[in-house]
Subunit: 135 residues, 2 copies
């Protein structure tokens, strides 16, 4: 699917506490900085579907495990990936794709490094039932 | 101390999982985007002292509690603050200040939203004993 980029990230082990990379401005998928925020998702809860018309999302999971599902309505195709410290990658989601995510671990946090500031006018929300996906 | 800015951040409560603000490009303390990375710090361990000569740090603690100490050698003054979800603020540390931090909780993670990419040539490290502070 051309609406997503998956990029492996470095984890640097240190006896006092590790370093986990997130994003550099020279990285693939970087499209400017607008806002960084965290979203937590309870185990088994699902947030979505949401489609951003302008925002590029860059998603990193420093705690727990989160299953992301992206739906491209033009190509009628789904992309799914569970991110965690065990599968430590950055998921870039370009504008005009539907996205939903489910909490897998006991405590789950994502960081979104977005290219624009939050603006409710550029995002569409529809109920989970509106896009048929076997969760 | 004029080398630090402390900015309260919003926490938006949601039944499926909360949203924690990090930084917007229009925020006080934002000085461009270079890199975002996580650092964990074990309980009672201390990382420091480090002085960045070019990097402005923007520090947020989404998990656990971390005590930050900033030392301004020009003014011979210390600034200290423990950040956590209970005291959810962003700590901006401007270049040319010494910084060290200690893990307080069982699991502690900071996010640094830095204005430049990591570059070991712009940072100085000295042992903890070199700056006298009652931890």
């Amino acid at each position: 699917m051309d609406k997503v980029i998956l990029t492996p990230l470095k984890q640097i082990i240190h006896p006092k506490g590790d370093i986990y990379h997130g994003m550099k401005k020279s990285d693939v998928g970087y499209d400017g900085f607008g806002e960084a925020y965290f979203s937590t998702i309870n185990k088994e809860d699902i947030k979505g579907w949401k489609k951003h018309t302008l925002m590029t999302l860059n998603l990193v999971v420093p705690v727990g495990a989160i299953e992301f599902v992206v739906y491209d309505e033009e190509g009628k195709s789904f992309f799914t990936q569970t991110l965690s410290q065990e599968n430590y990658q950055r998921l870039t989601v370009k504008p005009n794709a539907w996205m939903a995510f489910r909490g897998i671990g006991e405590h789950n946090i994502l960081l979104n490094l977005a290219n624009i500031e939050h603006n409710p006018d550029e995002a569409l929300n529809i109920p989970l039932e509106e896009i048929s996906y076997e969760w």
